[in-house]
């Protein structure tokens, strides 16, 4: 099953390899991972330096986290990481898998079990992440069915130029400009020499970091391989994060797995999956966090969105939450939290995104800032926009992943967001997708689904047909919402009512 042995995927690369600025055959680098420094940096080096274990600036321009806050957290977290690594080594050994030395990166992991799941939720050792993600997501199965395919696509698309490659080019240098592997100028700045500005000429472009070149190849190959998606902004962040932990070829296949199985159609040309998943999320918020729904489940005119209207008139907050899905929290949360969610995602599937989205909503709702601001609830559009602004900036301050993960999986009255099963999510998705399809058929049976909103409007002269705010009619009445969740939540809230409020 796992013919690709460790020797094929030797992980003995060093950072130095990354910065060899010579023009060695790029194909040679296709099967190698980029990051092996995670284990080499000591806690002290990180505490004294400007960058984290993954090459990101500790102090991001995007959040209010200071160097002091970071270090206070990391001092403690580094101890936690050591402890976790020991547990993982024990787990592997007890499953007859060899871990020869500190530096060994296993290519195989124990089969799925409650014990493994528990360990995964507490975090995979950073240097093992790429390997574990790939293993549990079914990467080997995918790869074994497509031996040599990635290399061939890369060769075929080498000089490709189209609309997708045009947008890809614009996004390459805009992917993780805070990361030393993506932005070479950070490195020279660190050495005390002036940093390069963004490449302007072709000459300079050729000298872009190896990571940027890898990212280009993966994104172009992906757009070519999945023409129904092509290139969608946010894929750059997904591919970029994968590339920090594994080879190009593996990154490519995990991106395929993510977009095929985990969040299908979310990046497709009409973003249909975004609308579906946001519909599901909104229904979940309504069921699970009714107090937040009472604030967000309205149009700007103050119209309360009843259940049968949610799917036809997604509330404006989905403009915020849709990026949580498209980027799978990259850029939404501090990187360590993103990685902890990704650990769980590749093992447990798409329910993970919904569970954490709900956790984030709840965390925002229960924050001091939000609670203090609540009394002035007048529900004007301005207030909603301020709330959106808060929901965009606040998650970036949640530096401790352990708190986030605990909040996600803790149970109150026997239920927590961890109680939402994949089966429920699948059913909800199917339900939402079906309803949307019905409405579409009804509203614009003559309209080709490939048309964009503008074309549809031109054809129908109807402003209300586009995907989010369309379907004014209440032809959804009598919708039978998923009884499973409803019943469960009824139980949950009746129990909760007798207890004190959630922490």
């Amino acid at each position: 099953m796992h013919q690709r042995s460790e020797s094929n995927y030797s992980n003995n690369y060093s950072l130095l390899d990354m910065y060899k600025e010579d023009s060695e055959d790029e194909q040679n680098t296709l099967n190698t991972s980029k990051l092996d420094s995670i284990n080499q940096q000591t806690t002290k080096e990180i505490l004294n330096g400007d960058f984290d274990r993954y090459g990101f600036k500790k102090v991001s321009v995007h959040s209010s986290i200071t160097n002091e806050t970071y270090n206070d957290w990391f001092k403690e977290y580094a101890e936690f990481l050591k402890e976790r690594k020991t547990k993982w080594v024990m787990l592997l050994k007890s499953n007859g898998l060899q871990v020869d030395s500190e530096k060994t990166i296993p290519s195989r992991f124990p089969p799925k079990s409650d014990k493994v799941k528990k360990l995964i939720r507490k975090g995979i050792p950073g240097e093992w992440r790429g390997s574990a993600w790939f293993f549990y997501a079914g990467g080997y199965e995918k790869l074994n069915k497509h031996v040599g395919v990635y290399d061939k696509i890369v060769r075929d698309t080498k000089n490709l130029q189209n609309k997708d490659t045009d947008v890809i080019e614009r996004d390459l240098n805009r992917t993780f400009p805070d990361n030393i592997y993506f932005n070479g100028s950070l490195r020279s700045n660190q050495d005390g020499t002036p940093g390069k500005q963004k490449p302007q000429s072709q000459e300079e472009e050729k000298n872009s970091s190896p990571m940027i070149r890898s990212l280009r190849r993966v994104l172009v190959a992906f757009a070519h391989y999945q023409p129904q998606i092509g290139y969608c902004q946010s894929l750059n962040f997904l591919a970029g994060l994968l590339l920090l932990f594994m080879s190009e070829e593996r990154s490519f296949w995990l991106l395929v797995i993510l977009t095929e199985r985990i969040i299908p159609k979310v990046h497709s040309k009409n973003l249909e999956g975004v609308h579906t998943d946001q519909g599901v999320l909104m229904l979940c918020i309504k069921e699970y966090i009714p107090s937040l729904w009472s604030i967000l489940g309205k149009t700007f005119e103050g119209e309360v969105l009843s259940e049968d209207k949610i799917l036809t008139k997604l509330p404006p907050v989905t403009l915020v939450t849709s990026s949580w899905f498209m980027s799978v929290f990259v850029g939404v949360l501090p990187i360590e939290s993103v990685l902890r969610i990704w650990d769980i995602l590749w093992y447990e599937g798409s329910k993970t995104i919904f569970r954490f989205a709900l956790t984030l909503c709840k965390t925002c709702l229960e924050s001091e800032e939000f609670q203090n601001a609540k009394p002035r609830k007048k529900n004007t559009e301005l207030e909603q926009v301020e709330l959106f602004q808060f929901m965009q900036s606040f998650p970036k301050t949640l530096i401790n992943p352990n708190v986030l993960v605990d909040n996600c999986f803790k149970k109150i009255g026997g239920y927590g967001y961890g109680s939402i099963s994949q089966d429920e999510i699948n059913k909800c998705r199917e339900f939402v997708a079906k309803q949307r399809q019905k409405l579409k058929n009804k509203s614009n049976s003559v309209i080709n689904p490939e048309m964009n909103a503008q074309e549809r409007r031109l054809l129908t002269g109807d402003d209300d047909i586009h995907d989010v705010y369309g379907f004014n009619r209440s032809i959804m009445s009598g919708v039978a919402w998923n009884n499973n969740i409803s019943n469960k939540m009824k139980k949950r809230f009746s129990r909760k009512a007798s207890k004190s409020s959630l922490v």
Binding site: V61, H62, S63, S64, V167, R170, D171, N173, R174, T175, P177, N183, Q197, K198, C232, Q233, S234, N236, F237, K269, N270, L271, F300, P316, L319, V320, S322, S323, M326, G331, E369, F370, N372, A373, R376, K378, T380, E381, L382, E383, V385, E386, L387, F388, Q389, F390, Q392, S393, F394, K396, T397, N452, A453, Q454, R457, D463, H466, D467, V468, Y469
Partner: protein, 213 residues
């Protein structure tokens, strides 16, 4: 912090092709900052910023949007009820000017009738130093001006990088915007005593007035 006059809330939406500098213009206006290679916006970003023009205080409620075409299906939600729009293009990219034309057309057809639109040609810093030949500039000032005149738009060439003309755009809009254009219920929203701003972190600049004027 108190304001002598009620702040008038103005919903302003940014539209334009990917990577023309929409988010950078907002970052310059709100935080007086610039970030090389700013990450693409996914979905939308929301910011608020107060701006004082004479004795008038405006609170801009800024909707910064994703530039890639497929996100356009969300656009009507963006410009619904918008009182102002910035249609941004990159003066070194002719295709982005073409896209700007489309946005202007769409706004005239679909947005509210009294919307104030500013056409903004960004990345002026790239052509500033060119003494002759104008090699990087691909959209002339005259082309921009003509479109603005034909369609009744404000027109600016800006550089979010050097901050050239950025505040002028927002002041210009604030000056031109009709007094009565704010929807009821929104107009007085900025004037509640002791109100707490939800803003945190890097975006907590809404109380600054210095970013403008």
């Amino acid at each position: 912090m108190s304001f002598p006059n009620p702040a008038k809330a103005v919903k302003l939406v940014l539209l334009g092709e990917a990577a023309v500098g929409k988010s950078s213009l907002v970052l310059r206006f709100v935080s007086n900052d610039f970030q090389e290679n700013k990450e693409p916006t996914i979905g939308a970003a929301f910011l608020t910023q107060k701006c004082t023009i004479g004795d008038k205080t405006i609170k801009y409620e800024i909707w910064d949007t994703a530039g890639q075409e497929r996100f356009a299906s969300l656009a009507p939600m963006y410009y619904r009820n918008a009182q102002a729009a910035l249609v941004v293009y990159d003066i070194t990219k002719p295709a982005s000017f073409l896209k700007a034309r489309h946005w202007v057309k769409e706004l005239h057809e679909q947005a509210s009738k009294d919307i104030t639109i500013a056409l903004v040609g960004n990345k002026y810093d790239l052509v500033e130093d060119e003494n002759d030949g104008d090699t990087l500039r691909k959209v002339s000032v005259e082309e921009g001006q003509k479109l603005a005149e034909d369609e009744g738009l404000l027109f600016f060439e800006t550089s979010a990088k050097t901050s050239y003309n950025v505040n002028e755009v927002f002041v210009g809009i604030g000056t031109k915007i009709p007094e009565s254009s704010a929807p009821t219920g929104v107009q007085q929203a900025g004037n509640e005593a002791g109100r707490i701003d939800l803003t945190t972190g890097a975006a907590s600049t809404t109380q600054q007035t210095s970013g403008c004027c």
